[in-house]
């Protein structure tokens, strides 16, 4: 049986298979008829059309409720974050619900309240929506889709100007990996893998409980605003499915540059690290829902790091590596000082994480 004949879970897992599906089946069928600043073909977290950032995302997380959040909080945060990481200031989002017959209204209320709470936290409006119900058994509880729009962040121009003061020419007016050059630093805003490991634990797949562990799900627009105010950020992305490994490989491919990261500098909580050890998975492949990775001009990296750490959601931020033109691909210096490549994951090790 060829993997190509039918959709498999891996096709939605953020790794190699999903990229293949998008590149071979989706992109060639959707044509571009007008000039779009950030078009579909770039596969950025948001597109930009006539100065408006626009994105959409569907949420299928299982279980619906987990420590640190639920599908409601996730569905607002994820879309707010996708708008924020291209340099957008989120304005409004939509809420489309697909619900299984028999779903408890009480649970629905709780989820919708979470959505409103997260929207308030982010300062966005939920302005439109849709509700569909499918027969019992034809859907596992519910799926939420949100789309969002944002305008250009008022800090973006000055942020990019500051980055360009090192003499680089900017290929894009938005946060975009095409703006990266060798020497740019990579910063992660906090410990990775909390969300995915929380979901794994909530499903009982660890075989024991991991108290203290909770999802990092959070809207990051205020955090992004603060770093853009400091300036020097040329690209940003949230490490969701496929984790840091997928993100870094996408950036290495998009920039044509090598990336070096030091494993010892990458923040990973003890619970996540040991959980990964037990399950035989790599924390670098685990999804986050409230973390962002920034590419920052070398001279401004420390300032951006400081700005991140002054925000509650960025307190544990770290500079983890840099871009280089001296080698290809993503290279990890392991904790003991050895070297290996970090390949693009085939797919997220955990399905239905977001």
């Amino acid at each position: 049986m060829e993997v190509d004949d039918k959709i498999s879970i891996a096709h939605g897992a953020g790794g190699l298979y999903m990229h293949k599906l998008i590149k071979e089946h989706i992109l060639p069928r959707f044509k571009q008829r007008r000039v779009v600043e950030v078009p579909l073909s770039l596969l950025a977290d948001s597109a930009v059309v006539d100065g408006i950032a626009f994105t959409t995302d569907s949420y299928t997380v299982k279980p619906l409720f987990f420590p640190g959040g639920d599908i409601g909080r996730l569905s607002v945060s994820g879309t707010v974050n996708d708008l924020s990481v291209v340099g957008g200031e989120p304005l409004a989002i939509s809420c489309a619900l697909v619900i299984e017959e028999g779903f408890e209204i009480k649970k629905l209320d709780k989820i919708l309240s979470s959505m409103e709470e997260a929207a308030e936290e982010a300062g966005v409006e939920i302005v439109t929506g849709d509700t569909k119900v499918v027969e019992r058994g034809k859907l596992d509880e519910m799926i939420i889709n949100t789309a969002g729009i944002g305008r250009r962040s008022p800090y973006l121009d000055r942020n990019l100007e500051k980055a360009a003061s090192d003499g680089r020419s900017l290929k894009s007016r938005w946060l975009d990996p095409r703006n990266v050059r060798p020497g740019d630093r990579l910063i992660v805003s906090g410990p990775i893998g909390d969300h995915a490991m929380t979901i794994i634990a909530a499903r009982g797949e660890l075989g024991f409980e991991a108290p203290g562990l909770k999802s990092d799900t959070a809207p990051l627009n205020h955090l992004m605003e603060r770093v853009l105010e400091v300036g020097g950020v040329v690209a940003a992305k949230d490490p969701t499915r496929g984790g840091l490994a997928a993100l870094l490989n996408e950036w290495s491919e998009a920039t044509g540059l090598g990336i070096l990261v030091k494993e010892a500098l990458i923040p990973v909580r003890d619970e996540v690290r040991t959980g990964c050890e037990i399950l035989g998975i790599d924390p670098l492949e685990l999804a986050c829902e409230g973390r962002v990775v920034l590419a920052v001009s070398e001279g401004l990296a420390e300032d951006v790091l400081e700005a991140l750490r002054s925000h509650p959601l960025g307190r544990e931020a770290e500079i983890i590596g840099w871009f280089s033109d001296e080698h290809e691909g993503v290279v990890v210096e392991t904790e003991i000082g050895g070297l290996r490549y970090l390949p693009m994951p085939l797919g997220d090790p955990v399905p239905r994480i977001c």
Binding site: D270, S324, E333
Partner: protein, 391 residues
């Protein structure tokens, strides 16, 4: 939390960066007095540790660690896969491990492939699952394709002694590691100077099983565990023995390996199997290495029950250089198929299938040795190693 704490203890002790740095320095200092050193390990898990932690990039240029035949799937004869496929197509339910079911035989058909053609194939995590499945389906006929070393063979032996369900037979492709190390030690293609012996297999066989082979070849043999510090210590122990010209059998993995080994497991193996000449795919026929059922266990032996021949023939896809990779003569990137037509999602050769196969491990970490050498030199990333190199 107790399980978390236990894992955490191992992580901090056996992955300590400061200790690793010290060991790397010791390795460089010791290697300075030596000419080329070629160390072979014969365990897929060692290869995983070495590759995943990037240990080769930390070693001086004159110290090379090569992966020998340490993957049970890789060395299982193509003819055994063929007969299992034949049985599955004839309506016998063939049970085996997940990666074994994906290894292709001489007609480039794996058990998994034959399942798509209507062959009866089931994947199990252990022989215990096979026993349970057979017991709960007494009207069906089962054969377990048992691949693996003395690490997995005792489970089979134990259940055979206990008595298998009448409808379950075993096609034993089990192999015993010590004679293979003996053969590799004498190989002229390889010119191996020393061995890192497998921690888990030796936990069963004991160090003493290697004694005759050590006596014959007189090359250092260090029994090692699977954390990065274990492997670095083992490399250092090997180099120290070579420097002092005092080869011996040395135990790094004292928390698991003993001189005697697991006597209970050994007794079960001795009771159930004859240790006979056996073919290792890609390597050779190795005497006293194949665990074949003793005559008194004929009733569980699939070979006797179905009149199957022992595999002698060799077969690899054309152009593929699996045999040389399995034996440890070349590295996966030296094979023209590596990461071109042969990838983890489209494996052609057995070493790309087996979870402990060298190609699979290298592919998962996308390793090209030459790049590593150049990386550690050019990118300035590996400061520790470089500063040590200047010593």
């Amino acid at each position: 939390m107790e399980p978390l704490d236990r894992v955490r203890a191992v992580l901090s002790k056996y992955r300590d960066p400061a200790l690793a740095r010290k060991l790397v320095q010791k390795i460089w200092e010791t290697a300075r007095d030596l000419s080329r050193v070629r160390i072979m390990h014969v365990c897929g898990t060692h290869e995983w540790t070495i590759t995943h932690w990037g240990i080769r990039a930390l070693l001086p240029d004159n110290v090379e660690v090569r992966a020998g035949p340490g993957c049970p799937v890789c060395i299982t004869p193509a003819s055994d896969i063929d007969v299992a496929v034949g049985l599955a197509l004839d309506g016998v339910h063939v049970l085996t491990y997940g990666d074994m079911s994906r290894a292709k035989g001489s007609r480039m058909i794996s058990l998994e492939d034959c399942a798509a053609e209507g062959g009866r194939v089931g994947v199990v995590y252990s022989f215990m699952d096979a026993v349970r499945i057979a017991a709960s389906n007494p009207d069906k006929e089962y054969v377990f394709l048992g691949a693996g070393f003395e690490t997995t063979a005792p489970t089979v032996a134990y259940f055979v002694l206990k008595g298998l369900p009448r409808n379950l037979k075993v096609l034993s492709a089990h192999r015993y590691v010590p004679p293979a190390v003996g053969l590799l030690a004498e190989s002229e293609d390889l010119e191996i100077d020393a061995f890192i012996n497998p921690g888990h297999a030796s936990t069963v066989s004991g160090m003493r099983a290697y004694k005759p082979y050590f006596d014959k070849c007189g090359k250092p043999m260090v029994f090692a565990g699977f954390e990065p510090i274990d492997v670095l210590v083992a490399i250092y122990m090997v180099l120290r023995q070579l420097r002092d010209r005092a080869p011996r059998m040395e135990n790094e993995y004292v928390r698991s390996v003993t001189w005697e080994g697991n006597l209970k497991a050994q007794r079960a193996l001795q009771e159930v199997f004859d240790f006979e000449d056996g073919y290792w795919r890609g390597v050779a026929i190795i005497s006293e290495s194949a665990m074949n059922f003793k005559e008194k266990f004929s009733q569980v032996d699939a070979r006797r029950a179905y009149g199957l021949e022992h595999g002698r023939g060799d077969y690899f896809p054309s152009e593929a250089r699996c045999a040389e990779i399995i034996k440890g003569i070349i590295d996966p990137p030296d094979c023209p198929l590596y990461m071109k037509t042969c990838t983890p999602s489209t494996p052609v050769g057995p070493a790309m299938v087996g979870l402990e196969g060298t190609c699979r491990i290298w592919a998962q970490n996308r390793i090209l040795v030459k790049d590593i050498r150049c990386m550690s030199g050019a990118c300035g990333l590996n400061r520790e190693a470089r500063s040590v190199r200047r010593l």
